[in-house]
């Protein structure tokens, strides 16, 4: 310990016990965390065992009935399927397309900052803004995409991007991909900077081409970043909500209802707060299981490396 600090302590008299300092410094944060995270989660767990509408102060206890209903809930399983479909697309795209883009951007030497900034700026926009923007772009009659297609004589390609059941999953995916690509690319770019230049120099001396450099140096060195990316992309996919609220609201029919949007529909719009809590709890438990598998795989991967 530096002498100055010891001197300071002497001036202040007896040092505060460690637990007092912990309470003073950590207490407010812990209280906030308990109030806004732990307590709602515990209450959510309790409400999942009730038939609460959200409008009354009493919440009739019904045991595990909500969970039994959940097993036969077609809408829930449809939401799970759609969420997983989107999640697979999102994980693949953010894990690999962002990686390729990062490697390409890493080679850019002129206007580097500007070009990287252009890719990153959609991530700065809030989900609300991005989704509204896409909504306007995708409108059948007046959306910029279709106007452009008609303008260049490709009327036949003008589509109802949000209303066609075959296209709308990819519309949602495109929105998420556009919004998040910059973030994931930056994540890889940052990790690319940590690769020692000696490795590139050695590869050059050995006559390795760009593909070999990528497969033998960059890809293996980026594996930890790929793992992080895939986990973050998974979270992005499972949490799809804001994009749905702003653009499709689950339409057409219930075809773009994600798990998050279904919980919102049940709890807020259909007054089934108890059942919505049960869906939340079930989803939480499923995610814990997925996370446990991921962590196990990650550990194995670390040992292999």
């Amino acid at each position: 310990m530096p002498p100055g600090i010891r001197l300071e302590r002497r001036r202040c008299g007896r040092a505060l016990p460690g637990w007092v300092a912990s309470v003073v410094f950590c207490g407010p944060a812990v209280l906030l965390y308990i109030g806004f995270m732990v307590l709602p989660a515990v209450l959510g767990g309790y409400y999942s065992l009730t038939r609460w509408s959200g409008w009354t102060s009493d919440a009739p206890f019904i045991g595990l009935d909500n969970f039994r209903d959940l097993l036969g809930d077609i809408r829930f399983w449809s939401a799970v399927r759609f969420t997983l479909f989107e999640t697979v697309l999102i994980v693949l795209f953010f894990t690999f397309a962002a990686l390729v883009l990062a490697v390409l951007l890493d080679k850019v030497t002129r206007l580097k900052g500007l070009i990287r900034g252009l890719f990153f700026y959609p991530f700065v926009l809030s989900i609300l803004v991005s989704a509204l923007l896409f909504q306007y772009l995708a409108n059948y009659r007046e959306g910029a995409v279709n106007i452009l297609l008609r303008w260049v004589g490709l009327d036949i390609l003008a589509q109802d991007w949000m209303g066609d059941p075959d296209l709308v999953p990819y519309f949602i995916f495109a929105l998420v991909a556009w919004s998040g690509l910059g973030f994931f690319t930056t994540l890889y770019l940052a990790n690319l900077q940590t690769i020692p230049t000696e490795l590139y120099e050695a590869a050059q001396i050995d006559g390795a081409g760009p593909m070999r450099v990528f497969t033998r140096i960059q890809f293996p060195m980026l594996l930890p970043a790929i793992t992080t990316s895939s986990v973050l992309a998974l979270i992005t996919g499972i949490n799809l909500f804001g994009q749905i609220v702003v653009t499709t609201q689950g339409a057409p029919g219930y075809r773009t209802v994600t798990i998050g949007y279904y919980i919102y529909q049940l709890g807020v719009l259909a007054n089934r707060q108890g059942y919505a809590s049960a869906v939340s709890v079930a989803t939480f438990l499923a995610l814990v299981a997925v996370a446990a598998v991921q962590v196990a795989l990650l550990r194995r991967k670390t040992v292999t490396l």
């Binding site: 709602p40 409108n139 066609d164 059941p165 057409p252 259909a270 059942y275």
Partner: protein, 424 residues
């Protein structure tokens, strides 16, 4: 929110913060007529209650479920809320202050059906739902009288299409998707008012005596809806909603709009310069066409338990001023409704803008000629689930998306009904 909701009943109701303000909710959105009425109501209140003001909470195009529940959670409901069928949920939660029968008698208003023995809402005017038509286009297509049957209606739309007009203004992105299906169900399954011998379809569906999937009329309705959407829904309708429907109709692009009478309140503010007729809903079951009347049950404002002490007195004063003749006239103008308060010297909507006045006249004459049914808007405890309209919207979106399986579409309605009832 869950934490706050848990805390609210434990005594976290927000007390009077000292501001002399009565907060009022209203779904104004882009409806200028609604805004003009509110400003007049506020001015009348401030004039008669010195130092007090009314504050608008505009719910846009929403019915306010999310807003009210968040305010219940924080113990801070506005003093006056515009309720519609949400009155049931608010009353169940003990958040509303009932009106005495004297209140209705004071203004000559027919007593609305009580909910669990009490009445909670003001009654606005008589609101009907029918079909608005661009008179010039329909005349050009050779039709000058309201189609009586669904077949007549479809034939008329075909003639309009053949003339090169956009026959129907239809957007399926939001609740507007449900309108044709709502009309069809309300005027078919609910054509007759319920009697003790034959309760409403709602009551029978609640006790599972009937199901939508077992009703032959529902199959006809869905077949007709499929035909309507296939033939006449504009391409890209799934991207559009109420605002686009209004724009297409009011700019003279579309010939027909399946929408409630409140659209009449926007004719003058939007300077619509052509004549519009308001016609009844064509019949799908061989009976005469008629209008749907949705205002017999709560169609107005209720006082919440946030209004206590002085605020309760002032909230009651504000509710009374709703029937000030000038304010009430503007309400009827904005909503395009006929007066329902016999002791108020205002009988119906008025406008100095000729197309608006012609619309009002057409609506009043057609309603008198064809009559109306309350459809499924019978009483607060005799209504479909709150999510019924969103369910109908989803079914229409499914049709628009290419789903032609009537059994599956009917299953959606039945399943959603049963699921929603679990939340009530």
């Amino acid at each position: 929110m869950a934490a706050m909701a848990a805390a609210a009943p434990l005594g976290c109701q927000r007390s009077d913060d000292g501001r002399k303000v009565i907060r009022v909710t209203r779904n104004i959105g882009g409806r200028e007529g609604f805004r003009i009425h509110f400003e007049a109501w506020k001015a009348a209140f401030e004039k008669q209650n010195h130092g007090w003001t009314m504050e608008l909470i505009d719910l846009g195009n929403a019915e306010g479920s999310e807003f009210y529940k968040s305010r219940i959670a924080t113990g801070d409901l506005p003093e006056i809320v515009m309720t519609w069928q949400l009155a049931r949920m608010l009353a169940d939660g003990g958040h509303l202050v009932p009106f005495a029968d004297d209140y209705y008698n004071k203004f000559g208003i027919a007593l609305p059906p009580p909910y669990k023995g009490k009445r909670y809402t003001t009654q606005g005017g008589i609101q009907v739902q029918g079909i608005a038509v661009n008179k010039k286009m329909w005349t050009d297509a050779g039709i000058t009288d309201a189609p009586k049957t669904w077949a007549d209606f479809m034939a008329a739309l075909a003639k309009l299409k053949a003339k090169g007009y956009m026959p129907l203004s239809y957007g399926a992105k939001d609740w507007t998707a449900a309108m044709p299906l709502e009309y069809a169900i309300a005027t078919s399954l609910y054509y007759d008012r319920p009697t003790p011998d034959k309760p409403s379809f709602t009551q029978r569906r609640n006790t599972k005596q009937v199901r939508f999937a077992d009703e032959p009329e529902m199959r006809i309705i869905l077949k007709n809806l499929i035909d309507l959407i296939e033939e006449f829904a504009p391409k890209g309708a799934a991207s559009d909603g109420y605002n686009e429907e209004q724009r297409d109709f009011y700019t003279g692009k579309a010939a027909t709009w399946i929408m409630g009478c409140w659209i009449g309140g926007d004719i003058e503010p939007n300077k619509v310069d052509f004549d519009i007729d308001y016609w009844p809903i064509p019949s799908m079951n061989g009976r005469p066409p008629l209008f749907l009347q949705t205002s017999e049950i709560p169609s107005g404002w209720a006082i919440t338990t946030s209004a206590a002490g002085d605020r309760l007195e002032k909230a009651r004063a504000a509710i009374d001023l709703f029937y000030d003749p000038h304010v009430y006239q503007l309400f009827l103008n904005g909503e395009s409704q006929v007066g329902a308060a016999a002791k108020v010297p205002v009988k119906g909507p008025q406008s100095t803008w000729p197309p608006a006045q012609k619309f009002f006249d057409s609506m009043i004459a057609s309603t008198a000629r064809y009559g109306y049914t309350p459809g499924f808007h019978i009483a607060l405890d005799d209504m479909p689930p709150l999510n019924f309209m969103p369910t109908l919207a989803a079914v229409c979106q499914e049709i628009l998306a290419g789903n032609r399986d009537i059994d599956k579409l009917l299953k959606i309605i039945d399943d959603e009904w049963d699921a929603a009832r679990k939340g009530e």
